[in-house]
């Protein structure tokens, strides 16, 4: 029977995938056509969603973006046999956006039925875990270390070193905690994976458990992701029923189980110690480090806290070896990164490539330029704590060190593009405002500094003692960087200072209705103040 694929991914649903699936069922019944509709994840080509695929002898043929009213014509054109039609995009794998990627972690996403273990196995699933079951824990850690994998949540800490620390701890209980609190604007890779290939994350967590001697895992999913939560929780039940989770994995002596928890709308809970507090049922107030979570983590026990993408990279590393993974990438950034193209872009979506792709390639070759058709002006990489870069920095390669050298960060790989309508003074103000809104309140530089930051930026925008206030803002940012306890307060100055450094003209506009006080002519160059 012909298989037709209509994504169940939240983004596809947001532009009508359920209605398209219903229309296909209706039309098939009307015509007496025999078909099965598979609700797959998304391929990550979101401007083409709902992207409908048909399985043919020549492979899968794509049609998109499909609206419910297009469906009768698709049937009339013979799309069930992969025939040409106005919306036909040809073989899915040949679409350049997809073809030119290096999909390692997302190889199965959008291809398989996310809730079919048979599909997962048919596409190489659980091979890494089976291999790991035959190894000593230290050998698993060794393989992950050899891959050069660094934490994909944003900090980029080597995963193998974190695992070794937990392995070396002696404790009656250890935990694997998966950070699925993907709060950065411009990011959706964790969500896509949990909705499109949840068994991959489950397998990665089992391997982590085997590697460090942990028998319990928690996945902390943000509440803004109701679809990811529902799909992932169902996948855990299916894996447990099939013997991959629970007591004695696949009849072995090893055990591991997963509990799925829901966040409650706090950005700070993406910070690992705050996440642990939240899992313990408390306010998400961050903890002092040390002790590291690897030594004293969840409920005081040694805990691996890894991002979804870090854990999801592990099955392939165990299947094909650390060296295979390390062969991708540049410098100390090994492997691939699922970059997420977002904001004002024509072709937003997921681009998994080896590190080293330049920003320009990402934004123009893949992203197709702005959605509005207006000139590009700024890009923020790495979420709300990432730097705003101008056109002049677009040849920066997407690599941890290259971004750090330009006072930016790669973070979780989100790339948000703005056209020339953006006001960077306003964006800088928003960075401080967001920090004030989301601060856990534990340390003063973040709690008070962010509110003072909003006030100072307001004065600069209003041309009130502008030069003096630029100096005050600079001092305040220095204090927040040096004295905040975690990355929220410590990195909020990055978008603020980058906006001043690269877009000084936006901080020197005559306020509406008020003539410039003449100070602007003699003002110290804000570039120098921002250093």
């Amino acid at each position: 029977m012909t298989r037709v694929f209509v994504p169940r991914d939240m983004a596809a649903l947001s532009v009508g995938a359920d209605e398209v699936a219903a229309a296909i069922h209706r039309e098939a019944e009307f015509r007496g056509a025999e078909l099965t509709v598979v609700r797959n994840g998304s391929r990550g080509l979101f401007w083409l969603e709902p992207l409908v695929e048909v399985e043919t002898a020549e492979g899968r043929i794509a049609y998109g973006p499909v609206a419910p009213e297009d469906v009768p014509q698709l049937f009339a054109d013979g799309f069930l046999n992969g025939r040409a039609s106005a919306l036909c995009l040809g073989p899915t794998e040949e679409i350049p956006y997809l073809k030119n990627q290096e999909r390692l972690t997302f190889a199965r996403c959008g291809v398989v039925d996310p809730l079919s273990i048979a599909d997962y196995l048919a596409y190489g699933g659980f091979k890494g875990m089976v291999h790991a079951l035959a190894l000593e824990p230290a050998a698993i850690v060794e393989e992950v270390t050899a891959s050069g994998l660094r934490g994909r949540g944003g900090a980029g800490f080597p995963t193998g070193i974190k695992w070794r620390t937990v392995l070396n701890e002696v404790a009656d209980q250890k935990y694997i905690v998966c950070n699925a609190d993907e709060g950065d604007s411009g990011t959706f890779a964790d969500r896509m994976l949990m909705e499109g290939d949840p068994f991959c994350l489950i397998e990665g967590m089992i391997i982590a458990g085997l590697a460090v001697g942990a028998t319990v895992g928690y996945v902390y999913i943000r509440s803004e992701y109701p679809h990811a939560f529902a799909t992932f929780r169902r996948a855990v039940e299916l894996a447990r029923d099939a013997g991959y989770l629970g007591y004695g994995i696949l009849g072995s002596e090893r055990s591991f189980d997963i509990d799925v928890r829901l966040g409650a709308g706090a950005y700070i809970c993406g910070e690992e110690t705050s996440l642990l507090e939240s899992l313990e049922g408390k306010k998400g107030v961050i903890r002092f480090k040390p002790p590291l979570p690897a030594i004293e983590g969840l409920f005081g026990k040694p805990t691996v806290v890894n991002n979804v993408l870090s854990l999801a990279a592990v099955p392939l590393i165990m299947e094909k070896g650390g060296e295979h993974y390390a062969n991708f990438g540049m410098g100390r950034s090994r492997g691939t990164m699922p970059f997420q193209l977002a904001g004002n872009l024509k072709h937003g979506g997921l681009v998994e490539k080896a590190f080293g792709l330049t920003l320009r390639e990402a934004i123009f070759d893949y992203g197709g330029g702005t959605a509005s058709g207006r000139p590009f002006r700024a890009v923020q990489v790495g979420g709300p704590l990432g730097a705003y870069f101008p056109e002049a920095l677009l040849d920066t390669p997407l690599d941890y060190e290259a971004f750090a050298a330009r006072k930016g960060l790669l973070g979780h790989g989100g790339i948000v593009v703005f056209d020339d309508q953006v006001d960077l003074a306003r964006q800088a103000r928003f960075a401080m405002e967001f920090c004030a809104e989301e601060s856990c309140g534990k340390c003063t530089p973040c709690r008070i500094g962010s509110t003072r930051g909003v006030e100072v930026i307001d004065r600069i925008i209003a041309h009130t003692d502008r030069v003096k206030n630029l100096q005050v803002l600079d001092d305040l940012c220095e204090l927040m960087v040096d004295a905040s306890l975690c990355a929220l307060g410590g990195l909020t100055p990055i978008p603020v200072l980058s906006a001043i450094r690269h877009f000084p003209e936006d901080f020197d506009k005559p306020p509406a209705g008020i003539l410039s006080d003449g100070e602007a002519a003699t003002a110290t160059n804000p570039r120098e103040l921002a250093r």
Binding site: E49, G186, S223, E224, L262, G265, K282, Q340, G343, P384
Partner: protein
Amino acid sequence: MVGMEQSGPGRQSWDRERGRDIIARWRELPGACLPILHALQDEFGYVHPEAIPLIADTLALSRAEVLGVIEFYHDFRQEPPGRHLLKVCRAESCQSMGCEALVSHLRSRLGIEMDETTSDGELTLKTVYCLGNCALSPAVLLDDRPFGRVSPQRVDELLDLVRSDR
């Protein structure tokens, strides 16, 4: 556009015994406080003040600790919300595609601010930062139903949808 398939926030009116049952069901879970608060809110739409001492007694916490948790997280409410909940993303990606124009449109159409409920109790507006639909900004979530590339005109259609579900 199809009708409302998913209901809004929990609509049962507060029932002390039912609340006690929900708390008892989750009490053995490690770190039970958040799961309990979510379960109460799923049922009743908010966390009733009477639930606070019940949770505190069950989990051996002080009432202040339970209240502290409720107040820390943006999701938990102590007042009943509207029959439908519209979450509007106002983070950077949606800003780049004009979410603030959507917010202005909603304000003037409904005569309420963000994080308020219409006087007929029909709809609550809520600011959120990121729904993970950033390639299709601006994005909103109506109850648990996502919408992407939302124009002011599309918002009007959603408001009609809400109104038709009385």
